[in-house]
Amino acid sequence: MSAEEASAGTEVSVVGKEEGEEQQVVNPWEVSAGKGGIDYDKLVDQFGCQRLDDALVARVERLTARPPHCFLRRGLFFAHRDLNEILDLYERGERFYLYTGRGPSSEALHLGHLIPFMFTKYLQDAFKVPLVIQLTDDEKFLWKNLTVEESKRLARENAKDIIACGFDVERTFIFSDFNYVGGAFYENMVKVARCVTYNKVVGIFGFSPEDHIGKISFPPVQAVPSFPSSFPHLFSGNDQLRCLIPCAIDQDPYFRMTRDVAPRIGYQKPSLIESRFFPALQGENTKMSASDPNSAIYVTDSVKEIKTKVNKYAFSGGQDSIELHRKLGANLDVDVPIKYLNFFLEDDNELEHIKKEYKEGRMLTGEVKQRLVTVLSELVARHQRARAQVTEEMVDAFMAVRPLPNMFG
């Protein structure tokens, strides 16, 4: 058993097992850190995935003949499983497809939600491969207090923001579970389900005997888009086509399970490329939540709202007074504007310059925040303009079960 297989059965979501020490909890439904924030090294060890090193990033750059995405350069997508295999096969001229998704729990999307989609768009453009996007409206129905109609409606609304990220309709299939599950997709779900015991799924996801059976039987739904035979209208005859899944690292348990099962049902294991978590405005240890609009920048925010939120609520690592700041400089480890710039400021040189000046006290918090407001405003404006162009018919087109003849073009 490889280290990876071993940790597939490991309990990774038990809290407080050891006396006095708070464990970090990372699974698809709960992310909470011990003191000092998430320990990503520990997480990577625990999950058994690999870190994405500079050599791999350079390889991606070489193979795609374009500069690697900001998120790769800055280490935001920092872990992977078998990415090198995908790159090997791509180099040989073989194909693969992308799979990502969203649980449509709210109408309002914030920047953190957009991150995996922005990165996936880059992957689609760089490698010129097709993409399937799963909207898990059934999951939200099962986990939240929503009606079926509301879940379906939210899925469609979220689809519009996803489309606004700039996906290519000739290469992208968006589907919602309530609409699409059935046929070959369902056959694969049942095949996966037969390979995972109750004990195992409890161990991976932390279910308890009080959880209803809907939750317990959900995981195969998120697993099977990794298998091309789930999409006979797209990939028929190509059962062994490989899949690359960009996602946040809290989704890893689904795909550990999937990778464990895949060879047993005659399919290829999906590869993963995983990101860190996006910090809330008020600081790394706080949560972004829909009930607190000041915890995040939403894609519907106006320039004024962005300015207010950043100036008032973004947690600063600067000192309390200008004199102290000039003397001691800023603490970049906790400064949220710097973290946000790390994600969204394209120019590497400018970012380095800002970090240096800020750390050594020559640049003030106000200036850093001002730069951030400009960057975020541009981003949000671009998104809003694209979003305004998305019609109901366009959503229908993206979600139609149709062939994609140019998907590898």
């Binding site: 190509n238 671009r382 303009r385 018919e393 139609a400 998907m407």
Partner: protein
């Protein structure tokens, strides 16, 4: 890493491409090569790697007896009289990854050759001899098999009559100008699916005159599973990045020349500003273009759906 001869030959076999293979001592010129394979009756090729002022590369395979007239070729490509010259040795080694004396269309299989603005031109229709990435072997294959190989690596290529000497001037625009790879070197070369205007009687004897006035470009080979009902949509007609690059390529020279004239500033000084401007404008431009593309696809999709519902298959005129 560059392909080896054996990897290349294995790949040709995988693609069901017939070829005959002859070993001989290392040869660096066509004259030497003739000594070993000239008796076999096929046509020896003379292969050149040329470079233009914008660092785009051209691999030209001509029949061994053809006169090289680089000046004329350069004019025909719309590059002016001195626009083409022999590419330096480093390009041979770095981009094509073949040794001196070994320029060959097969080098286009290398990934390093894949992303440069590269055009391959060939001028014969029968069996021809090439080096398969190494100077001590010659392989012979028919031009249709060469086509097959080029299609498999998705390379743009063109059949050009290198014997023709059209008068390129005001009344006769450069006849090969639209073969020149567009965009900056480093973009992968997308391929147009132009319907070839075929001229009959092309299987001439291997003499100097090869009349091939038409230009044929090859479509990229799609994934097997997409083979079934292939509609012939040009694969780069809907490419957003290419469109945005084309827009900049149209606007930049105009802007540069007008502004430099008006403000009496050198074009070179302006072009770095323009590059920065291009980088900053690209994301927004790509975003609006993608919106347009998606909207237009949606409208076409709706129309197709309605047609199918109301008229069924009768809604479409027969394709044959």
């Amino acid at each position: 890493m560059g392909y080896t001869k054996d990897q290349l030959l294995a790949r040709l076999q995988e693609l069901n491409i017939d070829f005959s293979c002859y070993d001989h001592p290392v040869v660096l010129t066509v004259e030497e090569q003739v000594k070993y394979v000239g008796h076999l009756g096929g046509a020896l090729s003379k292969n050149l790697l040329l470079k233009d002022k914008k660092h785009r590369l051209y691999v030209v395979s001509a029949l061994a007896g053809t006169k090289d007239d680089m000046k004329l070729l350069s004019q025909r490509l719309g590059l002016g009289k001195g626009g083409l010259r022999m590419a330096p040795e480093e390009n041979l080694l770095e981009v094509l990854q073949v040794p001196l004396g070994c320029v060959t269309p097969f080098a286009l299989i290398n990934e390093s050759a894949r992303y440069r603005g590269m055009l391959y031109m060939f001028t014969s229709k029968q069996i021809c001899y090439f080096h398969p990435l190494t100077n001590n072997v010659t392989i012979a294959l028919s031009s249709s098999n060469l086509d097959k190989f080029l299609m498999s690596i998705g390379k743009q290529s063109a059949y050009v009559d290198l014997e023709a000497s059209p008068d390129v001037g005001k009344d006769n625009p450069p006849d090969l100008a639209d073969l020149v790879p567009s965009g900056v070197p480093n973009s992968s070369v997308p391929v147009e699916n132009v319907t070839p205007t075929n001229v009959p009687g092309q299987n001439d004897m291997p003499k100097e005159k090869t009349r091939l006035p038409d230009v044929k470009a090859k479509p990229k080979v799609q994934n097997k599973c997409a083979e079934k009902t292939r509609s012939k949509i040009p694969t780069n007609g809907t490419n957003v990045e290419k469109f945005v690059n084309d827009v900049f390529d149209i606007m930049s020279p105009l802007f540069l020349s007008e502004v430099s004239k008006k403000l009496n500033v050198k074009q070179e000084e302006l072009s770095s500003i323009l590059d920065g401007f291009r980088e900053r404008a690209a994301p927004d431009l790509e975003s609006v273009t993608m919106s347009l593309k998606n909207a237009s696809y949606t409208a076409r999709f709706e129309a197709g759906f309605e047609t199918m519902l109301n008229l069924g298959l009768n809604g479409r005129s027969p394709r044959k």
